[in-house]
């Protein structure tokens, strides 16, 4: 059986330790912004937070500055893919949802045009995760588990394709500002208008888009509603880890979310992590996003 690399991208939000421990690589996207002195910055969307720390990063957004995100570049794929191909590895790329990024399309095109010709004996399988953050991250971890069990790349890909809509997201943003600035959320304007105190709850729908499915009132109300939704959708919580990602949210909000989840759903473990730079830039500071394995997502949000 051929050796194969498991690769994600900047939206998978896996920590340095997680990637190292499970031998998962990732391709970086980019983030850019213009600061108050009109200075332009562009940095890789780095999951090690080496260039700009999470607090500093979310404070840029708090200052009302728009951070623009861009997909994985050709140079980055050249670097990451060629590195593994040259080492004689096939590639399983579990990509950010096609509903959010075109990175996987570029990867496929580059494979067809270049890499497959350069390395005709190698194979590439791309999984459209139809989710991001620790939904995508959990799929990568699952792939690593299966690799440890000795499963082939094809077997892993088949399993992920079959179950990918079971990776659930329930997220709540603190304010609508970033979503609006980014124009990313798929929801009719009239649904939210400019309503003060109302928090949308976002799920990742069947098209892998962030869909504002409900409104909740107030921070606490929205957290409680998230927990209800997790409770309704979760499957076998005893045997899985629940990931609570936050975009530099208030500690009391994170604590409330964790304690309420603990109270109502018996997860094996709840891990608190930082929401990565890509989704964080669209959802905005204070966002709380929960990822877990559950019932297949049946909701299709609005079509473009």
């Amino acid at each position: 059986m051929n050796k194969f690399a498991i690769i994600g991208d900047s939206t998978c939000d896996l920590t340095t330790e997680m990637r190292k421990e499970r031998n998962i690589d990732y391709a970086q996207m980019l983030v850019s912004w213009t600061d108050k002195e009109k200075k332009f910055h562009e940095i890789p969307a780095d999951l090690d937070w080496k260039i700009v720390g999470p607090k500093e990063y979310y404070n840029i957004l708090r200052d009302g500055i728009r951070i623009i995100t861009s997909q994985v570049t050709e140079q980055e794929f050249d670097k990451v893919f060629r590195h593994h191909l040259a080492a004689g590895e096939d590639i399983l790329y579990v990509a950010c949802s096609s509903g959010l990024s075109a990175s996987l399309k570029l990867a496929q095109r580059l494979w067809n045009e270049k890499y497959s010709k350069e390395y005709p004996e190698r194979k590439l399988i791309i999984i459209d995760s139809l989710i991001s953050c620790m939904g995508q991250g959990s799929m990568l971890l699952r792939a690593a588990d299966m690799r440890d069990e000795g499963k082939s790349m094809e077997e892993i890909a088949a399993e992920l394709e079959k179950t990918k809509l079971c990776y659930n997201q329930v997220a709540v943003v603190e304010s609508l500002d970033c979503l609006r600035r980014a124009g990313r959320v798929k929801a009719a304007k009239a649904f939210f208008g400019n309503i003060f105190g109302v928090k949308p709850i976002l799920i990742s729908d069947r098209a892998g888009q962030n869909h504002a499915i409900e409104k909740a009132k107030g921070r606490r109300g929205s957290i409680l509603r998230c927990v209800e939704m997790i409770h309704e959708a979760v499957v076998n919580p005893e045997s899985q880890i629940c990931y609570v990602l936050h975009a530099d949210a208030k500690q009391e909000d994170v604590d409330l979310m964790v304690s309420k989840i603990k109270k109502s759903v018996p997860f094996k473990e709840i891990k608190v992590m930082t929401l990565g730079p890509i989704i964080g830039a669209t959802a905005g500071p204070g966002t709380l996003a929960i990822y877990f394995y559950g019932k297949e997502v049946m909701i299709s949000g609005e079509q473009e």
Binding site: A190, F191, F196, G197, V198, E214, K217, G221
Partner: protein, 557 residues
Amino acid sequence: MVLKKLNGEQFAALIENGAKNLRANYQEVDELNVFPVPDGDTGTNMSRTIEGGTQAIKDCKELSIGLVGKELSRGMLMSARGNSGVILSQIFRGICKGLSEKESVNAVELGEAFKIGIKQAYGAVVTPVEGTILTVFREATEVACKQIDENSTINEFFEAHLKQALVTLKHTKELLPVLKEADVIDSGGCGYVYIVKGIVKYLDGEKIEQELSSVRASEQIDTVDCSAFTSDDVLKFGYCTEFILRLQNSKVNVVNFNVQTIIDDLNEEDIKGDSIVALKDEDVVKVHVHTKEPGLVLHKMRDYGEFLTIKVENMALQHNEAMSEEEKESELQMKHKKYAIVAVAQGKGISDQFKEFGVDYIVSGNQTMNPSTEDFIKAFKKINADNIIVFPNNKNIVMAAQQASKLYKGANVVVVNCVSIPQCYSALTMLDLSSDDLTLILGNFNEAIRHVVSAEITVAIRSTKAQGVTIHKGDHIGIVDGKMAISSSFKNKIVVDLLKKIPDIQDKEVLTLIYGDGITEEEKIKNVQAIEAKYPNLEIGAIDGGQNVYKYLIAVE
């Protein structure tokens, strides 16, 4: 003049004199308020209600009391406004039912008709409260009926009726604790007594000189034009089917019965229900559904209980009857919607905000200016929708909205139990029609309303004591969910002082301030600063509502 019998013309003259007497004294009735705020203008409301009736019979050439009664009843029904006005219109609706088909009546027959008025009025109120116009009318009728016989005159009936009405009116103070504390008699009962006094005066030969308002109610709306569905027509719209079901213990577990069971049935392939509304209230389920198979629905529902009432109407007729040709034309120009929202509001800021939230039509009105049944019907006619959701936003407007919803046949009209602007504001922020499920939509509204505390601040128009609070004229007074909470002369921290009276304020997260007309910038800033200092966890938002009467309307969620 002494009347042995009463004909239509005489009846009309009596009612007119009664209406004039009320008009001459309506301000006194207006002032009989429990709270010293300029709200619930009972005298104005009752005057305008009965004048809608007198206007309808003004040019009536009929001599038959039955026909005059029919016109009077219709006119009052349409012009009814405020809860006392709606009850008054229902009293007369009952009386006129009792008079129908009659040329003239003697005192005994008149008494019998009045008794039907009791039944009609009590039946129109969900929970009749004694110590109100209902009690005054009932006791006065019961006592008068006992005192008359076949030889009695009409004069004797009304004299006995008035005598007892005055006795009961005085007694209302003892029946309702709120009246006793404020030391006032019931305003609706008082308004009714003025009407009867006017009638007795006429019989004594005294015609009252008084201008009446002359707003005429629109033409008949409740005749069914059956030409819209001929023997060659094909059933296209189905039947608007409404019923009230009493769940039976012998059939289901009444306490745990989930109304979703019924909704699922109505969605089944054979019934194909549309515009479904099913609401459970203890052991009673109210259901509204459009279907081509009402028979199947009724059959199926008996698995759960037995019917209290059933109404099935061909919707082709409904569509027709509610509209004149001209209105049909204008309706065609409005975009058809499945759901539309009508809300009562006053103040430009509030109205604009509500429209932005998705309200289709604002019925102008507030405490001092209660819209009539007809105002609602006009709004319903302008809207081209299958389902109309109404927010009355005031306790004293609810009944007129409900009366209109029953009279209007052009759409499925649901009146939300929403009795304040803050409640409406909160419900609208949670508006979400995407489920396309009326039960769910209304459920969301009710949920939002349940979670909001409404607070209001206004200025006392007189000194009094209400619900344990001593009030001085000119003070700022604060009301929380309809209860008098504080009276204070410190206007710069009145809001925070009022918030302290909300028991679970520490658990609240969102506060919306709706500024009334004429609040100074300084007052606004001082109040917001005081709230922020005292409750740092509250998210505070503010809107320039522009309403009169209330300096602040506050939604706390």
